[in-house]
Symmetry: C2
Subunit: 502 residues, 2 copies
């Protein structure tokens, strides 16, 4: 192959680029494995102004140098939150698996899109295999699936497929082709379903809220009643969203009972398992997913409990063809029948065109850990959560569980009862004064924890079965294999220390 | 801070994990800088069965080892397409900037989500700054923006904001609140707009096609007529999609003239600049974007012409508040007013919840290259495309340009006239026989090129102004700074060689 003269081939600064990338890799390797030093702060809290003063973020017309860039990049990392830190409990993602980090690094240099076999041969075969493995773990023997940019988009795929299944003409004619479609979700369901009903032109008011019990589980009779009522009002029920571990309380709905109601009314049942579907890989905890084999579709985010770097979110459907039928557009420039292996082109199953390779990092973690490795990781997280609950129950003067742990994930929600509501002269339990002080405590504790970089944990006030607007309560999420029961004792001690004058 | 006993702190296989990640980094650094060796095959073509035989892709119950994983991962990379190779012309993305690769590697270990300042302080400030920089380059003095998972989703944000601007009640009541909404796009526009009209429940048939001229540019009078006709039919025109470099021909629409029509009819004008908006950074070529200062919204993918690793797609809007108004859901668990710097939380501007950090890699490339560096990269791509056109015009017996290069990006579309349509006894130009042979040639040439790993270039047959179903033609995309005019001569020679018996 006669090619351009070699002289032009050599990139001007390859050696400089290589040194730069070696420097980046030093940071990468140290960050990826050193995230377990609890003495290191979780965050070096700065205001936006302080960040702009400390890091040269401004862009300029003239070129910089690799040396300066490496220095500035290192500062960006220093002032970023260490989300793999054993005291990062703030979100539903935490410590990642090194094998998966390796996959994400390779994905960056592979730099291709998933839409055709032609440009992603290995990853197309790999995705097909991994999605089939995930469907099998749910007890399904057939179906289809795809990786989406996050659980919200996965959930919207569920709404869209339910809509297409109910009335295929909507794809060409619009929602008007089907009268007033209505869906159902629980009071504890994730807000992405509501965003989906707005984005898909169905309207958030056509997503009917079904109340939950005190564990955060959808009350199935209320669902049945709500569907019947909607039918009487001439509306068209088509979709029921259930949740496999709600975002705050971690509750699992009763999929068997809800599947019966769905079948009775001809509705599509989706399980939003973005957070909690991973428990299916644990022989001890998979019973929480009982009935998932009857779901029409499931969303499952390995980037949460399975320690895969963001983003890694699978959308799985039990009917084989509906994903392609709902989303295809047969763009002639991209999908040609006369190309090699065109039958393995996944692009037309997505609403995206270009689609990131999110499967390699998951496959590498699964290859390294095996099923047993994921099981051990998940069981460890449950044990740590159980230890925290036990410690909370052992310190009733200062802490109180929000919901008793029945069919719940590794979420532990609890109130901190600050000194100002204990002992003599304290306001009566449940009084406005009492609620105000309990409500304010987490704000103070969290700010101090952030200022010291000690730990990061979420707090919120959301609707509960017995209290529409309860005082703020902490939501501790246990995920990381490097978080141990002793850390839970430390956390409670820290909250008491930082909340000493609340 | 008393923490868990140190013994528990040490991750069992940290040293093994560190060695593994060092091995991964060796692959990463070599791939990221060695992508310029033209002797190396672009692809080692395999069937799915061959891949499964050569790479141990199967997952198992039991754990593997880091050593085995590193070996298998290296094989996955060997059989993956080298999209930074100087002879990879297949898609609208190609050779990436090492500075941006560095950013994507750091993003993997930073592993956080963009939804709140709390978990992404540096990146929240950085995204705000970069998006403002991009709006300024379009000539805008205000507005908002966000990074989306690809141009298709960015384009759907444009449709959704146009819909919200036209009828805000749709967010709660659904599309029914606004009668029959209709949008307009050109015959050369990207299919993601059609997928958007289906996904958003508007219906693909309510997206009206406007014909193009022979350069692939929307015919503005036809747009005006189509809107007037829709109004007569009682429909509600609300959205006009224009394209800044169409996917195949690379054409830029006339944004000034179309903005006049949009204003006249009260329609939102979106510019789909996923591929071609980057030219705004070149003083020579920015005139192609003339009129973009009048657009309501623009989508712009730095992961295409600017060499940023997938995915990096900005959605920009000129009205400051409509993005938040259209998408917010005020989820209490995530967005609390009483948290630090809550005003910098971007999460509620997205339809996603978790959102990947796609800004760091772009910021690092911009920091290293400066405006001048991106300008040089873009001008180089235009020069290489011009060289290819000149060479095609100089070889009329074998090649023919599909459209003359008026207001066009670095796309070069051309027919290859195989030997069987040249010389004595050749079928008459334009006859069915002639068209059949021209149509078949690229399929043969491409397959051979893939089998040899010589180069990868796209071909297709799409609607043209003067031919509704033309014979297949090649689409050569010039992006890479390491692709030179000599490579274009080599490419034409290769096509002739591989097509010698067509
Ligand atoms: C003009 C145009 N718009 C939008 C897109 C979609 O961009 P993405 O592939 O990032 O979804 C493309 C992709 O090729 C395109 O060429
Ligand atoms: C139950 C549930 N569903 C969906 C989502 C959305 O997932 P993502 O953040 O990946 O969009 C979340 C995120 O926290 C969640 O907890």
């Amino acid at each position: 192959m006669s090619v351009a003269p070699e002289a032009k081939r050599i990139k001007t600064n390859t050696s400089k680029a290589t040194d730069f990338l070696r420097g980046i890799c030093e940071i990468v390797v140290s960050k990826a494995t050193a995230g377990v030093d609890p003495e290191e702060p979780v965050i070096r809290l700065q205001s936006p102004e302080e960040l702009k003063a400390k890091i040269d973020l401004e862009l300029s017309a003239s070129a910089g140098s690799y040396e300066e860039l490496l220095e500035t990049a290192a500062k960006c990392m220093d002032y970023s939150v260490k989300t793999s830190h054993p005291h990062f409990f703030n979100q539903l993602f935490a410590e990642t698996e090194p094998a998966a980090i390796g996959g994400e690094l390779l994905t960056a240099v592979a730099n291709t899109s998933m839409y055709t076999y032609e440009v992603a041969p290995v990853f197309a075969v790999m995705e097909d295999l991994v999605l089939a493995r995930m469907r099998a773990s749910l007890g399904w023997t057939q179906g289809d699936g795809i990786f989406c940019p996050g659980g919200s988009i996965s959930n919207m795929y569920g709404v869209n497929l339910a809509r297409h299944h109910f009335c295929p003409e909507i794809k060409t004619k619009g929602n008007a082709a089907a009268g007033q479609l209505v869906g159902f979700y629980s009071a504890q369901a994730h807000y992405s379903i509501r965003k989906g009903f707005s984005f898909l032109g169905l309207g958030s008011e056509n997503l009917i809220v079904v109340p939950c019990d005190e564990h955060g589980r959808m009350v199935v009779d209320e669902l049945d009643k709500a569907i019947a009522k909607a039918k009487e009002e001439g509306k068209k029920p088509f979709y029921i969203n259930t949740t496999a571990a709600t975002t705050v309380l971690g509750a699992y709905d009763d999929y068997e009972a809800i599947a019966d109601v769905a079948e009775k009314h001809g509705c599509w049942m989706h399980i939003d398992g973005a957070w909690g579907a991973s428990v299916i890989l644990s022989n001890t905890h998979k019973t929480l997913m009982k009935g998932c084999e009857r779901a029409n579709s499931v969303s499952w985010n390995p980037h949460k409990m399975m320690g895969i770097p963001l983003q890694c979110s699978a959308f799985l459907v039990q009917t084989p063809d509906v994903l392609m039928q709902a989303h295809c557009a047969n763009a002639a420039y991209l999908f040609q029948k006369d190309k090699l292996n065109a039958h393995l082109d996944t692009g037309d199953k997505a609403v995206q065109c270009g689609r990131k390779v999110d499967v390699l990092k998951l496959w590498m973690a699964w290859k390294f850990l095996g099923d047993t490795g994921f099981e051990a990781r998940i069981d460890h997280a449950f044990n740590t959560a159980a230890a925290l609950r036990a410690n909370i129950l052992a310190r009733p003067a200062s802490f109180r569980l929000v919901a008793s742990p029945e069919s719940v994930c590794t979420n532990v929600c609890f109130w901190f009862l600050p000194p100002s509501v204990r002992g003599e002269g304290a306001p009566a339990e449940g009084s406005d004064e009492w609620r105000k002080k309990v409500h304010a405590a987490p704000v103070v504790v969290k700010q101090k924890a952030q200022e010291q970089g000690a730990f990061m944990v979420g707090f919120q006030s959301i609707v509960l079965a017995n209290d529409p607007s309860p005082p703020n309560f902490f939501r501790m999420i246990s995920i990381g294999p490097n978080v141990h029961p002793e850390d839970m004792i430390w956390l409670l001690d820290q909250i008491e220390t930082l909340g000493a004058d609340c």
